[in-house]
Symmetry: C2
Subunit: 333 residues, 2 copies
């Protein structure tokens, strides 16, 4: 039996929950959880905000732990090896996307907390390619949030050929944004933080920002016109999109990783005139996660975490829900 | 004096008009016009639809002609050489975009018919890099529309690394779209035409489409879900954008070259889930135009034109305005 914490219904507090995971499949790895980050999407799933939650729901998809069991068809992993598991825990492995290394874009990609029990537990399972080795040099106690939030903001750097000579803007300096600042700075870029909270200025500079712009002040946004090559949007609230798009230089890209629910009105002319692009991406492929881990190890990039023991998981969730987390929360098992 | 045809005020018929162009600047070339295509944006400028027209307005930015005079600082052109002039007739030549070969993205790019007299005339001037040599193998009588409409639809192929193994959709099979079909087919791609006019089916296949989808029929659009790598939108009217975006495969791109005036509502999830992008571009850089001309020459790609003598320019404009042109109109001087 696996001992976990689960929501029994939408918006409920988590309770202790035991389940029998059944026999380990041939391509599965079972991981003994050491720590697990809390991501905003855990809240969205607990609350059934996206309409596809199944209960009892065991959240947790920023897992760090050690390999406890291996199916017969797994490759390259060893019992006892430290690994991480993020948003996805499986994919079909035979479609065009999977075979070309974009497993995160597989139409049958399986979510760690979607009809599957997640990492707020003593053990959790994943298809073996989705168990990402944690290299030496990465502090395992703090690394959990890299597995989802980290690779989510790292992916645009990995897949779009961002150059160290590019100017990068990060919109929203929270759980995702503060990691994005660190990656952008380590990538060699000139980095602008867009935040509505000016009290954070010193901290935001500490994360890597060279410049700070108030994201709610259209006149400040306007001053940044035609200055940026890549803007990564980590917020999920509406902003002055037209003026934000105008901050892009010719050939610039605004990239969404935050699930902005309200439609974003795009004027074709704002794209056509300067050959701009708008895009988005979900978490990352296993190789992106592995590259991110190596890059994070080399540059000593870690999220800034608060720690809670798993027994205080509901307190931790309330703190995240209240927007008080600075900047990410990790549960210790 | 240059003999031209001009609109004296918005929405007026063109009248004969003579003007003194002044001394030829050092970096300018003067071209004796042989033919000039009519582009939909000539109508937009005559009507002051975009609010920056200046009168008298001489339209015409799909010029084919021969070099009649060269300023002292021009390079690589010879008197008598056949060249073409498109939407832009100049740029600053010293900004980052100009120096890196993206002169069409220069913030000071000059339009051939924006505060400058265009090609409905016996002569027209341009900064020398914007006079594009017409190679042997390109039929000069028919090539005019390649200079604006042609390079506009060719640019996404040239700048985004489109591969012959990609699947390409073209939305709107008119003046721009029929050239886009020809380029996409010659590029080696599997080509889908999206049109609301099913009567054109045979012609549309003749231009290069392997498949035809009714762009107004959301159920037909839905059947094409996750099937295309690049969709080029040449129309300027609202469509079922959400379903059209869903026709993109993971990593796919929808690219706007038509000036859709109404904002396009984009849901971030539709981009994030499959790492899709939305983009746009304006005409093309001189090297894109030159490459397009060589490619068009090799593959015998020409627009399908109707011809009018310049004396019947108002008749020709009325025909285009009525949406009756099949598919492009060229004025013979």
């Amino acid at each position: 039996m696996i001992k976990a914490w689960a929501a029994r219904a939408p918006k409920q507090k988590l309770e202790m929950f035991e389940y029998d995971p059944g026999p380990l499949k041939a391509d599965e790895v079972e991981v003994a959880v050491e720590t697990c980050g809390i991501c905003h999407s855990d809240l969205s799933m607990i609350d059934n905000e996206w309409g596809f939650s199944a209960y009892p729901l065991v959240p947790g998809h920023e897992v760090i732990g050690c390999v406890a069991a291996l199916g017969d068809a797994t490759r390259g992993l060893k019992i006892g090896q430290r690994v991480g598991i993020g948003w996805a825990c499986g994919s079909c492995m035979h479609c065009d996307q999977c075979l070309s290394g974009n497993q995160n874009l597989c139409a049958e990609s399986a979510g760690t907390i979607i009809h599957h029990h997640g990492g707020f537990a003593d053990r959790v399972r994943a298809q073996w390619p989705w168990a990402i080795p944690i290299p030496d040099g990465v502090d395992a106690k703090e690394a959990g949030p890299l597995l989802c939030g980290g690779v989510t903001v790292f992916t645009p750097f990995a897949v779009y050929g961002v150059k160290p000579t590019d100017r990068v803007g990060i919109v929203g300096i929270g759980g995702l944004g503060h990691m994005a600042l660190k990656f952008a700075r380590a990538w060699g870029c000139e980095v602008t933080a867009f935040t509505s909270n000016e009290k954070k200025a010193d901290e935001v500079r500490g994360f890597g920002a060279h410049h700070i712009v108030n994201s709610r002040d259209s006149s400040q946004l306007a001053k940044a016109a035609r200055s940026l090559d890549l803007v990564i949007v980590t917020v999920n609230v509406p902003l002055d999109w037209k003026t934000l798009i105008a901050t892009l230089r010719p050939n610039g890209r605004i990239h969404f990783v935050g699930a902005v629910l309200e439609p974003i009105p795009i004027e074709a002319f704002d794209l056509i005139g300067a050959q701009r692009a708008i895009s988005g991406s979900p978490n990352g492929a296993p190789t992106s996660s592995a590259k991110m881990m190596e890059f994070a190890g080399l540059h000593r990039i870690l999220p800034q975490n608060e720690h809670f023991p798993i027994a205080k998981v509901n307190e931790a969730l309330d703190r995240l829900r209240a927007g008080k987390a600075r900047y990410r929360i990790v549960l210790d098992m």
